[in-house]
């Protein structure tokens, strides 16, 4: 009612003042109640969005990675010192390839007398195993030995992270041109900026990025003049005193453009050194660093190096485990449900079974892990860390879920169908297998898929049966050591290096994709075949 005064005209005796007062209060309560509901849903959705955003945000960087696209001269002396051209030997000769890459890089970037530290800094830009693909490729085509080939070499995770904007807050500015340069090329130079403005700009940027509350060192400026990179040690007006880092050793010519890269953290506080940054920048200007899709995430197995670690073994491990789980849980679950729902006499034993199954479904998953550890491993002596055991444990874990879902689907088939079948002279078994089970099939399948999805995401019980072990090889069969995706995620998430974080997020996304696919199938099944009685 809009208002009591307006209302009285045509509503006549319908309302009393008192009733209207009450009504107003009641409608107020109504609106508040509704708001609580909306709020609750809002919070739930916000939580979900926050979760997804944080994970996708983390993961996005893991799906691409930076590689050094380097034209390597495949020298026989490195790769095939025996000259046998034996592919296997070549493939195995990782250190030869490594040495070759190191030497060729050193040739380009370091003077011959560079000390070991300098060399180590350079070699640190990629990991030893990064040459593995080169070795394999060469082994596959031994005729390339002696020629120059372009290969992509994965950059070390820190460099990769730096290129993706991690490692340190930074800012890149142009500060005009060189007015004058002076000093020896060996140790350092002093450059004079063309304008006072540029100097001030540089000073302002430095102050801006200096954050003493995070670490006590001030921000660092790397200066690129011409093609040479320096670190700025001090500045005085327009004069900058610089230390050489990388690039041509010639003194920058007058008028050469100057750029400054200002980093919030000094190299003591970060995982990438100034020189490495300089090299990276030079390689970047040479166009030899490019971003590629991180296929190794799917093709590689686990590794101690985040940039090389992949989910392949875990995916296969998960699939094998799921296979075992499905073989155990689905048929046994369906049959058990059919027995309980259709055939079991209603007595105390079956009601016990019922309570038992319902309860089993709510038993914490970790208890199943304990069961697996005690029974399968300790008592039956099955090997640890194998998909067979994992699958069995998960199978038992989801068995009640499958049974309950199947029973629900069976109960949903109206009893009239059963009596109809019995009424035309079908036996109990015929009525079940001809009518009830086919009608319940979509529901059962939906339940089974959802159960499998649950198994796929399950972690805790697998930790207890040793599937957390490090597995670098794609498993061959259910009796091979392996790990599974969620456990891999758990393991990666505990990794110390920061590069593990995006990697973990990426693995989560892989897992989520599988889960979403399974749920999608379940939803489609339900939508398509669901029958309302």
């Amino acid at each position: 009612m809009s208002s009591p005064t307006e209302g009285t005209a045509n509503t006549g005796s319908f309302v009393t003042e008192e009733a209207l007062q009450r009504l107003k209060k009641r409608h107020g309560a109504e609106a508040r109640f509704k708001l609580y509901g909306q709020l609750a849903i809002g919070i739930a959705i916000v939580a979900l969005v926050a979760l997804l955003v944080s994970i996708f945000g983390q993961a996005s960087s893991a799906f691409s990675r930076y590689v050094l696209s380097y034209d390597l001269n495949i020298e026989a002396s490195y790769v095939d010192p025996d000259g046998t051209r034996d592919p296997e030997a070549i493939a195995r000769n990782v250190s030869g390839f490594n040495l070759m890459l190191q030497d060729q890089l050193a040739d380009e970037f370091l003077s011959d007398d560079a000390n070991r530290n300098l060399r180590r800094e350079l070699y640190g830009m990629f990991t030893r195993l990064a040459v593995l693909p080169i070795a394999r490729a060469t082994a596959d085509a031994p005729e390339t030995i002696g020629s120059e080939q372009i290969f992509n070499v994965a950059l070390a995770d820190d460099i990769d992270l730096f290129l993706k904007g991690g490692v340190s807050a930074r800012k890149s500015i142009e500060i005009g041109t060189v007015a004058a340069g002076d000093g020896s090329t060996e140790d350092g130079v002093t450059l004079t900026l063309a304008s006072q403005d540029a100097a001030e700009k540089l000073g302002a940027a430095l102050t801006e990025l200096t954050r003493t509350d995070v670490d006590d060192a001030p921000a660092v400026a790397l200066i690129k003049a011409g093609n040479t990179w320096y670190r700025m040690e001090a500045s005085e007006g327009r004069n900058l005193s610089l230390t050489y880092l990388a690039g041509p050793r010639a003194l920058p010519s007058e008028g050469a453009a100057i750029e400054a890269l200002i980093l919030a953290q000094s190299q003591e506080n970060r995982t990438v050194t100034d020189r490495q940054i300089a090299w990276t920048k030079i390689l970047q200007t040479q166009g030899r660093i490019k971003s590629v899709l991180n296929t190794s995430l799917f093709t590689n197995s686990d590794s101690t190096y985040p940039e090389l670690a992949g989910t392949a073994a875990a995916i296969v491990g998960s699939l094998l485990t799921m296979l075992v789980t499905a073989l155990l849980a689905i048929p046994v679950g369906i049959f058990a449900a059919v027995y309980l729902e259709e055939f079991a006499p209603k007595n105390r034993l079956t009601s016990l079974i019922e309570v038992n199954i319902n309860n089993l479904a709510a038993v914490p998953s970790i208890v199943f892990g304990l069961l697996g550890a005690a029974v399968f491993i300790n008592f039956m002596g099955l090997p640890r860390s194998v998909p067979l055991v994992g699958g069995l444990v998960l199978g038992l874990l989801v068995l009640p879920t499958v049974i309950i879902a199947s029973r629900a689907a069976l109960t949903a088939v109206p009893p009239s169908i059963r009596t109809a079948a019995l009424g035309v002279g079908a036996s109990k078994t015929q009525s079940v297998f001809h009518h009830v089970l086919p009608l319940a099939a979509p529901g059962i399948m939906t339940g089974a898929i959802i159960g499998m999805a649950r198994a796929l995401g399950e972690t805790a019980p697998l930790l207890l049966i040793g599937m957390v072990a490090f597995v670098a090889e794609v498993p061959d069969g259910p009796m091979d050591e392996s790990t599974v995706l969620p456990v891999l995620i758990y393991k990666w998430s505990t990794g110390a290096e920061r590069a593990w974080e995006p990697q973990t997020a990426a693995a989560i996304i892989v897992l989520l994709v599988f889960l979403i696919l399974m749920n999608l199938i379940a939803i489609i099944l339900r939508r398509r075949f669901e029958r309302r009685w």
Partner: protein, 468 residues
Amino acid sequence: MLETFGHLPVAWLLFAVLAAAAFMAFYVGRTQAVGIARGYTSQLNSQPNYHGYFVAMATIAPAAVILLIYMMFGESLVRAQFASELPERIRALGDLELGQYIDRISEHATRRDATATGNALFDAASDRYTDLVGLSRIAAILLAVLAAAGGFFFGRSRLSGDFRARARVEDGIKFLLFLCAAIAILTTIGIVASLLFEALRFFSRVNVFSFLFGTEWNAQTGADFGAIPLFFGTFLIAFLAMLVAAPIGLFSAIYLSEYASPRVRSIVKPILELLAGIPTVVYGFFALQFVAPIVRASATWINGLPFIPDGFLAAQPTSALAAGLVMGIMIIPFVSSLSDDVINAVPQTLRDGAYAMGATKSETVKQVVMPAALPGVIAALLLAVSRAIGETMIVVMAAGQRAQITPDPTADLTTITVQIVALLTGDTEFDSAKTLSAFALGFVLFIVTLIFNLIALRVVKKYREKYE
């Protein structure tokens, strides 16, 4: 030949043979039945197909039993025989070492690409072992084939016009179904037995009371096994989780089932279900990477406020609060979908009744629908609590490891499940108190959740009966 058998993938072979036998038996049985009926199949007690099934069943079942026996006892038989053939010197070894020796031999023997090791005795033994395995397999297969043949002829002999083949076949099917149902029971028995067994072993070393009521927990060093801090951590986190999940889940369920238009419902419900489908390890990661830092920052900020004593909140990088919040989010769909089911089960006629009395929607919900649904909702909450108590990954990743009793939710706490994982990951020796304490904890966990579950399930059952 024995050796070949020792290596062949016999399982597959047998499977194929049995399948073929079953098929043939079915065909023979069917044909015979058709012959008996002379075209008037409806005069038979059972349809010809059932006669076929019966013969097939009679053929396979005994063979399957024999193969099952072989699978269970075959290897120990072979090993016993093998051990008796070993030289006295080796047999003199202790049981344990002998067993390990035979293990090595059997491992070597079953490897298809096994090559000579150079150790003559070992090689000979391993060859002999292969032979024995082959022999046992041949024996098993022969027995199985004989049993199958016997079953086949027995089955055929039973066929007649009055023979109730269908009933026999259905009995067989029922038995199979019963076996499947029994597995579920066996699981529970297995859980209870294994937990109890290991827990008893633990309690033979550590006093039950000092375990249940002790306040110091240092299991990794094997020093202290007082589980109170773990219980405290577990329940604090579960409490925090329910603080989040109960109101949000309940109100979402009410809104969805009573207020939301079908369109909104069809969008929001899957979103909530999505929340349920996310693996706990993902929540753990989320808690660790996203929520824990926020909690810590907030705690730090609160600590910095005036009037707040310094160090009022622990502000740890992992905290009970972070774990509790995320666990709450995880449980929301659990509460909401269970409550939603319960609320939807309240018959529409009740709502109509209330509307027709002139009740508003919220009055209907509060005074008619919710009282009707209350038992179910309580059960849903109990199940949610049980779930929160048993949840592992979130707490493992985000709650911390320190066993302490503190009401400060920003401190890091540990829980039963965290300790189980911590104690059982990596290599485990099944006879150290450290390992066994995990089983004791598991037993406690199982009992506690069992109690919650039983109460909840009983309430749910009562509730269902009311509206069915």
